[in-house]
């Protein structure tokens, strides 16, 4: 059966990423950045990719990548989730990369794997693997139209755009107008992509590329959600041991202890589900069903973990200054990203032969 543990190499990778994030991505810095003109952290991205080579984990070595697997990428995403790091890892190193792997476009793939080029699949973040995608018009060899809800487009160098001829086109960011949208998730901002006669290079067919990209996205998002939930739980436990009311640590009250114990149990389950999805993606065994199970389970747990964190922090949790809101916003946005839990359950109705009335 599936290997649900972390290997020694995976634990070493986690430690390296966590060290980097502890030093260079503290919550106060993330918060300050959300209010600046540059919500993405390009310096951190450079460390993760050019120094550590993490953008190329899913890309074979002969195409310029690391030739690792979804299991390692999942560990990176856990850590990035734990830090709500504002870097386009999921969108460029997973989603755009998977789309290009499906298309077999070697040149662009190598550029994305190096991290020096950031890619974004121009499909709305809410789109799940089983949902249709919006397209732009192809007229006289150029692209026309507007696509909304494109995560991390503001920082992308190249966009992968579905056109109405069924093709997926690579468009350089310079040829498009990219307008930031005010987004619920401050650390993974969305943008509108406007194309008015933009030139594009056809890299492959949209259908299989988008399906593959969004399936990997949904499966690995569970690991990011695990990181978010794990932060919420451990930070809340830490705070409740310290915070005193009624002459006692608040964490000693049974009503709160039971809530945290239940949450811990859900995080334990989420870890198993996320590992199962990452392993299924890397081994391509039972993948559709395992990804749908993981995503149907992960979103509600991550949302509940951050909601509990806010409530159990009391007043301080409601302030802009405290980072819990960054995690709540990420968890809530993640519950829509790449298909809601309900959408994935509907997929399972077919895959597990539990048909609707």
């Amino acid at each position: 059966m599936t290997d649900l543990l972390y290997s020694e190499e995976e634990e070493a990778l986690r430690a390296a990423v966590r060290d980097l994030l502890t030093d260079h991505c503290p919550p106060a810095g993330v918060l300050a950045r959300t209010e600046s003109d540059a919500p993405h952290d390009r310096t951190l991205w450079k460390s993760l990719t050019e120094d550590m080579g993490l953008a190329g984990l899913l890309v074979p070595e002969e195409q310029g990548g690391q030739g690792a697997s979804h299991r390692e990428a999942a560990v990176v995403l856990e850590e990035l989730g734990r830090a709500v790091a504002p870097v386009p890892y999921l969108t460029s190193a997973v989603v755009a990369t998977e789309a290009l792997l499906a298309c077999g476009d070697g040149e662009l793939l190598g550029q994305l794997a190096s991290g020096r080029t950031i890619g974004a699949l121009a499909v709305g973040l809410h789109t799940g693997p089983a949902t249709g995608v919006r397209t732009v018009r192809l007229e006289n060899g150029t692209l026309h139209g507007e696509l909304t809800g494109i995560a991390d487009a503001a920082v992308a160098d190249v966009l992968l755009v579905p056109a109405d001829d069924g093709g997926l086109y690579a468009v350089t960011a310079d040829a498009a107008t990219i307008l930031p949208q005010t987004s619920l998730d401050l650390t993974r901002p969305l943008a509108t992509v406007r194309l008015a006669g933009a030139p594009g290079r056809r890299v492959g067919d949209t259908g299989p590329a988008v399906r593959r990209a969004l399936r990997a996205a949904a499966g690995l998002l569970a690991s990011e959600q695990l990181g978010v939930a794990d932060w919420a739980l451990s930070e809340t436990v830490r705070y409740l041991k310290e915070r005193k009311q009624f002459n006692r640590p608040v964490g000693g009250f049974q009503a709160l202890k039971h809530r945290l114990a239940r949450l811990w149990l859900e995080v334990v389950h989420l870890r198993a589900a996320a590992r199962a999805a990452a392993d299924a993606l890397s081994s391509d065994r039972d993948t559709d069903i395992t990804v749908a199970v993981a995503q149907a389970y992960a979103a509600p747990v991550a949302v509940r973990a951050t909601e509990e964190a806010l409530q159990l922090h009391g007043g301080i949790g409601m302030t802009w200054e405290h980072p819990v809101h960054l995690y709540l916003k990420r968890a809530k946005a993640d519950s829509i990203a790449y298909g809601t839990a309900g959408t994935h359950r509907e997929t399972l109705a077919t895959l597990a032969d539990l048909q609707a009335p």
């Binding site: 049974q254 590992r275 359950r345």
Partner: protein, 393 residues
């Protein structure tokens, strides 16, 4: 003598000397114990070889493939899972030699005399008294929720030997002979209609001091060995997809389209996902144990399975609609085995209510997770430094 190859060849030699086809069941089991192939992690001379516990599967597979009889572990679960590890840890050499062999072969069934009507979650408050008279202890009291009491030759018993000290300090652990004339066993009928368990009344039962396990007053610590093994035993089995309670519901859903509604569909899918994730979680726990990295996750598995079993069986009763209003049989019976997924949906619904009570209530387990796993402080206690006789009751 710790490697799988050696155990395999030792098993094969044993089978050559004791061919299952021509050896009586009991003779075979006794010989297996004497050959150290009963539980390989036990010491030599006590049914084992001092080998790693994880290698037991090698022996079991060889013997099973040869068509060998087993010791019907479900019938003697309390002996195997709870009494034996406690005897091994705290018993004298003489006690180990007397009890472990017939325990393992199933010649002598064991039961557990722990819970009392006045001591459930607060087990340490128990009031069954044991008073010393020379080389004997005279025991009076009432125990409850005792499975297999009516089949058992022996019981593990905890009783109060000193009421003048705080409750955890005045308990002593004994082996009680269930055939003693002072032992009265009454079936305890439960909400399913049957009686898996018993009430046991102890009146002037005389236990020789040689049947004490551990020191006088040390019974609480001895009982922790028993209870920790109980929690390991519950909720740890490998499952295929749809292997648990979700299986029968999914089957009904597929075979009976006329029962389907949209609301039930949403709940079914949610529970199907939770059951599948619980299966992954159990599998991950087993992989951790196999890799020698046991995590704290085990503490939560019983909690998760209790809730899931209750919700799934509750959904199943509703799904059955008109049939959900019926029950298969209320006749009072004494089943030999408990089968949580046996019988019909109504039985499963009612029986699973016990899953969050037996072997530690979910509320107590949540406290254990909060304090031992998350490190949260305990509630202030008013009972720890008070003599047992002065506690509120």
């Amino acid at each position: 003598m710790t490697d799988a190859g050696e155990l395999r060849s030792r098993s094969r030699e044993f089978l050559d000397r004791h061919p299952p086809a021509s050896t009586g069941r009991l003779d075979f089991l006794r010989a297996r114990f004497d050959a150290g192939l009963a539980w390989v992690h036990y010491p030599e001379g006590l049914g084992g070889l001092g080998a790693p516990r994880s290698l037991q599967g090698v022996v079991d597979a060889e013997l099973k493939a040869a068509g060998a009889p087993d010791n019907d572990p479900r019938r003697i679960g309390i002996g195997l899972g709870m009494a034996a590890p406690t005897i091994l840890t705290y018993g004298t050499e003489e006690q180990k030699r007397r009890y472990l062999r017939p325990l393992w072969t199933g010649e002598e069934v064991w039961c557990q005399l722990f819970s009392e009507p006045g001591a459930g979650s607060d087990l340490a408050a128990l009031g069954t008294r044991a008073v010393r008279e020379g080389d004997e202890w005279v025991v009076n009291g009432q125990k409850v929720w005792t499975s297999s009491a009516h089949l058992a030759r022996w019981a593990i018993l905890i009783a109060r030997t000193d009421p003048d000290v705080p409750k955890h300090q005045g308990i002593t652990y004994f082996v009680c002979d269930m055939t003693d004339p002072g032992v009265e066993i009454r079936p305890l009928r439960q909400i399913t209609g049957e009686a898996e368990f018993n009430e046991v009344f102890l009146t002037g039962v005389r236990i020789p001091d040689s049947r004490r396990l551990g020191a006088v007053g040390d019974g609480w610590r001895v009982a922790q060995t028993t209870l920790n093994n109980e929690r390991v035993a519950i909720g740890g089995m490998a499952q295929p997809r749809e292997g648990g309670m979700i299986g029968p519901v999914a089957k009904t859903w597929r075979e009976r389209p006329e029962l389907r509604t949209h609301e039930l569909h949403q709940r079914l899918l949610t529970l199907w996902v939770e059951a599948e994730v619980a299966r992954f979680t159990g599998e991950r726990l087993r992989q951790q144990l196999a890799a020698g990295q046991p995590g704290p996750e085990g503490a939560g598995m019983k909690l998760a399975f209790a809730r899931l079993n209750q919700e799934i069986s509750g959904l199943e009763v509703e799904l059955r609609g008109e049939e959900g209003l019926l029950y298969d049989d209320w006749t009072m019976r004494r089943p030999e085995h408990v089968d949580f997924t046996g019988r019909d949906a109504g039985y499963r619904y009612l029986r699973s209510k016990g899953n969050s009570i037996e072997g530690g209530t979910s509320e107590v387990l949540l406290n254990i997770v909060a304090e031992r796993v998350l490190g949260l402080p305990a509630e202030p206690r008013t009972d720890k430094d008070v003599a047992w006789k002065d506690l509120a009751r």
